[in-house]
């Protein structure tokens, strides 16, 4: 009897577990594995890569993939595999930092504008509407054009661009949660606004927030790659997949591997995040399932 109880209890726990539900879905599993691969590459970059990213082998320029240079070499004779591995690090760091900037500011603004109505809400949402009125890459380019190109400015630009999405998502869910009975109950027992916000509304807005964060991460990585591709993101010789792809264009016929590997890794990363974002949305918010 006690065994049965234990098993059912265990099963119940597992079925409720987001990660379990996510990994049960084949697409979710694929996305998760893709991201895990990129994260592992980024963390263990110094152990995995064969050469330093800036190390120039002038005798081995434009070498096709071989046993020494797994993904071949570029026009300076730098090892493409090592640059791809370190590029994963750059992509993830830029993605995570910029989404943290956007999510942090967006979450606070969303909670405030959703909970307090009136002038505060109108002002915040007006600013967000204006930021939202720009195509995102355009705003990011404008900010970098003004601040100058550097890894920090790229992160700031991408962060600012993503604030409105978070503010809107969080505000919408705060508004719907606010009308539920338990918030009225909390008010009626005399809880302060701040406590209701922190203890009740914020945790309940987390589901849509997490889905948004996953999707924003992929769009942040994409924006970074695009900006670096245009020469307005990460500066060489720092390895960025976007700038590697851009540099490869002059040599594409001579050395197609210079194009193919960075392109493949950009595609793999964005695809994995999008798949995971979709799967997460289905698990956390089944009402939105397509």
């Amino acid at each position: 009897m006690s065994d049965i109880k234990r098993i059912t209890k265990k099963r119940k726990f597992r079925k409720d577990n987001t990660l379990y539900l996510l990994l049960r879905d084949p697409l979710g599993r694929a996305g998760f594995m893709g991201i895990a691969l990129i994260v592992l590459l980024a963390i263990f970059a110094p152990y995995i890569s064969n050469f330093d990213v800036a190390e120039i082998h002038s005798k081995d320029r434009l070498q096709a993939p071989n046993s020494t240079y797994w993904f071949g070499t570029d026009n300076f004779g730098r090892d493409i595999f090592s640059r791809i591995v370190y590029g994963a690090r750059v992509s993830l760091i830029v993605g995570i930092v910029s989404v943290s900037i956007a999510a942090g500011i967006g979450f606070i603004l969303g909670i405030i504008s959703g909970y307090f109505e009136g002038r505060i809400e109108t002002t915040i949402m007006m600013v967000m509407d204006v930021l939202f009125a720009f195509p995102s890459i355009l705003l990011a380019l404008l900010i970098v054009a003004v601040l100058g190109t550097s890894i920090v400015n790229t992160m700031i630009a991408i962060g600012i661009v993503n604030i409105p999405v978070f503010t809107r998502t969080v505000r919408a869910s705060v508004k719907s949660i606010k009308s539920l009975d338990f918030v009225a109950d909390a008010k009626s027992i005399g809880l302060k606004d701040r406590d209701i916000l922190i203890r009740h509304i914020a945790p309940n807005s987390l589901a849509s927030f997490i889905v948004q964060a996953t999707l924003a991460l992929s769009s942040a990585i994409l924006t970074e790659a695009t900006m670096s591709f245009l020469g307005l993101g990460i500066r060489p010789p720092e390895p960025s997949w976007g700038s590697m792809l851009s540099e490869s264009r002059a040599f594409m016929e001579l050395a197609p591997w210079m194009v193919i590997f960075p392109a493949l890794f950009i595609i793999l990363t964005i695809l994995s995040f999008n798949i995971l974002g979709d799967a997460l949305r289905d698990v956390l918010d089944p009402k939105l399932k397509l």
Binding site: D129, S218, L245
Partner: protein, 314 residues
Amino acid sequence: MKNYIIRRLLTLIPVLLGISVAIFLIMQLIPGDVVTGILGIEETPELRAMWERRLGLDKPLVVQYFNWISGVVRGDFGESFRTGAKVFPEILSRFAVSAELALIACIVAWIIALPLGVLSALKRNSITDRIVRIIALLGVSVPNFATATLLILFLALAFGYYSPIRYVSFLENPLVNLEIMLFPAIVMGGSMAGSVMRMTRSSLLEVLRQDFIKAVRAKGAPERVTIMRHAFKNASIPIVTLVGMQMGILMGGTVVIEQIFSIPGLGQYLLTGIFQRDYPIVQGSVLFMAFIYVFINLLVDIIYTYIDPRISYS
């Protein structure tokens, strides 16, 4: 209807003003200032004072903004620092090129996305559906610049094909112009098609579940009529919304694609402005693109009322 459009146009004013203020303020963040950017090491106090007077930088910020915006309203976006040419006529002529590219991309996207999206919804959970969904996911996930670079590589290696180097306008030679536009439009349209496909599938599925479709089928309407006249029309509102949003993304996308395919559109003009630190070009192009984006969204709102007369004008 007329009143509705006028009212919607009026609500645009604060948004447009907000955009102009945002751009103006962001431009103030330039480290040092514009004059340092122009003069560089040749800077002397006299030269600096002259340039400040010439650009109106010696006046308070609010006055500077009003001077700028009153020029913009009259179609005067300022002059390029480098060439001294007026920015606005250049923006207009380059916008025509970008708009053509965006339009062809949209047509490509619709041709791919609508039939496949409908097919995928009608054959839900079949192999066809799965294949379409994977194509859509790839469309959404593969970045434009990666597809473009791979496509150029593929065309060169497999067919030895290179698109014409010199840009030719549509009026000059329509065929060569379309040849130049075709591959960039396929790249942009392909990525747009992904999300339109997904939206078509999901909104059609939602409509097909509703009772009125059962009623239409019960009265004996042929399946084609049920789908096209009843279901698809009702499913089209979210699709139109998405297409509107995508047009904005397309405007941003032109920056990258025009650079890769060397098309002299507004996106390329903006990039040139950024690289040469020619701020009137940057400021003007971004303002113009953002305005166009807002107007497209307004157009989408107006189209709604045609598709669904239940949406009230009030």
